[in-house]
Symmetry: D2
Subunit: 296 residues, 4 copies
């Protein structure tokens, strides 16, 4: 099976690598040249976007809905897609963008699957992503072998692609909430004289022993937030924004998300945007002045 892969960012390059390793015929394209060579070295071929679009399955993993729409338009990919090509959009996009993308493909008679993922670059590398897939059943079936090579589990979410986008946004809101709560709690115990790392070991070893915590606790404990395979805080802020946008659209008050949003802005203002999401813990520390001399 031939797979076109567009978007070789921190997530995409790991995913495309796994497809090559699984034996698929993979043709890749990326806006900047830098990550392409590594894929070609690994066995992929380089192709123009239209060539990628002509494959059996076209996977796009771009930054957001705007980036995807721009590529679709600039290279006229809907026209370039084969009649039987299935476009699998694995990026996190807004509910509105998700609906618009589904409508555009439908109007052009193209098969479209929304398949955003839960998992950071390191999970992508390990092919342990949770894939949230929604779209026409037969289209998902066509893409399935590729998706199986990318993830630990595929969660079918029905025929309406937008649903997968909503689930992804709701889950990422839960994730930001989990990490922020853990950071606040770590500051609470620190203010009472305990080592945050001891606390984090307890919680992630007991009732919070899930990746949503375990993947972020070590960085928090060591206060080392640079991690190219992590989840960029600025991306978490963006996802939270999209979740709140979907909530406003659906008239659902999300008081915790509202509090998180402003805390995220505080973290961005403090310069943590390019660090891992676990850097939220630093903003808790800063707000409590835990590292100020006058605490002593």
């Amino acid at each position: 099976m031939r797979i076109g892969f567009i978007g070789l960012g921190a997530m995409g390059r790991n995913m495309a690598c796994n497809l090559v390793a699984a034996g698929f015929d993979v043709v890749v394209w990326n806006r900047s040249a830098e990550p392409v060579q590594a894929l070609v070295d690994a066995g992929a071929t380089y192709g123009e976007p239209s060539e990628c679009a002509g494959a059996d399955v076209l996977i796009t993993m771009l930054t957001d809905g705007e980036a995807l729409t721009e590529v679709l338009d600039r290279y006229d990919l809907l026209a370039a897609m084969g009649e039987r090509t299935v476009h699998v959009n694995m990026a996190t996009v807004s509910a509105a963008a998700g609906r618009a993308l589904a409508a555009r493909h439908s109007e052009s008679g193209r098969a479209y699957v929304a398949a955003p993922v839960l998992g950071r670059p390191d999970m992508a590398k390990a092919a342990k992503l949770n894939i949230l897939a929604a779209g026409c059943e037969s289209a998902i079936a066509t893409a399935r072998p590729a998706l199986d090579a990318l993830g630990a589990k595929l969660w079918p979410l029905g025929e309406s692609p937008e649903r997968a986008n909503i689930v992804k946004l709701a889950a990422n809101f839960m994730l930001v909430s989990a990490v922020e709560s853990m950071g606040e709690a770590a500051s609470l115990v620190a203010a009472h004289g305990m080592e945050p790392s001891d606390f984090l070991e307890v919680v992630t070893g007991s009732v919070f022993n899930a990746p949503a915590y375990g993947a972020y606790a070590p960085a928090m404990g060591q206060r080392q937030y640079a991690n190219p395979e992590g989840f960029r805080l600025a991306l978490g802020a963006k996802d939270l924004e999209l979740a709140l946008e979907a909530a406003r659209e659906g008239l659902v008050p999300l008081p915790v998300a509202g509090a998180l949003r402003e805390r995220m802005t505080q973290a961005l203002a403090a310069g943590h945007g390019d660090e891992d999401l676990s850097a939220l813990a630093e903003t808790s520390r800063e707000a409590a002045q835990l590292d100020s001399a006058h605490r002593d």
Copy 2:
């Protein structure tokens, strides 16, 4: 080894049962007579508080610090404790109460261990509690066989008993945050036409596959919140209050906890206090008017 056990509430009765089953010589007391008989039937003996206090290990599992202090005072338990008796307080108490209790025992020359637990009554029944133990090392060692019969794991947290109380409060804040976030997220997907239970299956089956979520998702999915073996929402509200009190004392801002507190009050005002903590999801539904006719 002889164990005195005071406080046979939803948690305590399950824990005392496990001690009896593990072969300890258990003497129990409870303010109301009702739960005593079941324990006696199971093999425990009934005794006055002072008799319980004279055992090798005195375990107290009362509602809160005030209840414990009242029992200590009324029955003069510090005097009734043997010289080598170890008092293990397994209840959730405030940081301030924790400090005061430690000081009282110390001044009286009595051994005191704070050992609050993570886990609901059903986990207590299954002897799968996570036990957070702090206090003098030799006292913990004395109590250890009993504690091992109660829980899946014991987490030693140092010599200062108050630390165990802080960790417990910080963990319960994280728990309330996890459940509320899950409830908000479930309302978000519901407003976009999805079944919350489908969403909950995805998240608790993937990156949130921890008891903090798994123990609450089924009730949320089925919207059945009556559960005598669950975690009463009103207790969760109280623990959150104690966490915020400890945070204020330590000058640690907890913006998520602040938002949670008001949402908890909304749930209490709506009459969900005696239901399981998962009933927070109903408050999200109510706030979004998800069950109102005008939504259709």
Copy 3:
């Protein structure tokens, strides 16, 4: 002086009326015909948008930036404006839209003033608006006689039009905060057995004796929220959204605004969007179940 006036909504019709009454030669246009006749009866003339744009001063008072942009584009108003016409945009628009509008006019060599107002339709009728004006000094001077006929006071905010938009959004955030706080406080005293109206009389008669409170307290006290001359809650929600957008852009955390936003959503979900902003008090009452039987 000839004034073109586009946008005869709840605010605009009152403002245009005052211009006619002040003796200006006013030519009006509105998307729907309904409000035009009353203006014509009062002494204005009807004209196409391009005719309005050819006046000495073109005042636009449309719903938002999108509506204004649409009218500008559809009727090519920048081309229709005279060389010396000053366009005064009195609507509340986002910071981004404000910048874009200023840039478009500048590129076309047209004079542009942003002059959003503080005040509800009843204040517009009474010509007691506070006008926040920013733009080229000479352009403001040209428009000044018209603006003086509309408001009690004009506040010059410098040459950069966007500033007036930011000030307006910041002030409306403060307004929503004032009204919501008053509503929460009214529920607090009600839960303790007092009449909210007694409380509101005290606060608006003492340290809160400003329009931001006084204009909303009577409706709150009487629980009568239908008011065509009031400030629609849904518009308040929109302004708050724009303030948060500007804050995110400027990396400024606004924790109170974050909490307000979710409360606004709760009010919208409960169907209060078309009522006056004071209806926020009902959402406080609903959240506290103040009118539920079980309170008694």
Copy 4:
């Protein structure tokens, strides 16, 4: 008329001075000697607490309910009060303390009026306080001449003393909300390049032209927060805490108050507790890193 006055803090000393100036026979007591001399120099006499309690009217203006209760108990003031003495408690106390104080006086057959005030030390000095008075009508009538010498206006709030306490707490919550919102808004405009003082002039000169804003805007504009006649931020934090306590007791969710509380903690952690409440604006600036080099 003879007036006993206990509590010569920042508020009390100004109030007692006004009573002396109005010609009353004033006997004062204070825990520390320092402020007594100034009163004596002004014409008051010094007396023991029991002597103060024997006057026609006993005014107490202590820090909080705990301080008042301690003085009542230590000096057995209820016994020392004359049969016709009216005790007017002008301090801000919790709803619970207010109830307890009313009950104690009632049981002892002593007249008690709760009369907390709205206004800062500078307003106390100018005899422009708003006095919130609740208690037996005849007791208020007895104290009225003294109260009239202290304030611009007296607001009668019924026979139940606790009501005055609740109104005071609700109003102070509104005040903290007003000041915090103004500070957040000032940071928002600052991030967009404007002088906060220009913005503050606009809002306090237009729809927010009330003491709740006007008393705090100048300090915010000049960023000078040391003010012995101001409202200490730490006291504002305490009042907010009491408002939230009363709200929890009455099961009233206060989402804005919840957000405020955590922001207050952030301000306290940053060392602003002894500054004027307007210093909240600094916490907004700090959270947005407005004074950091990387902003430029």
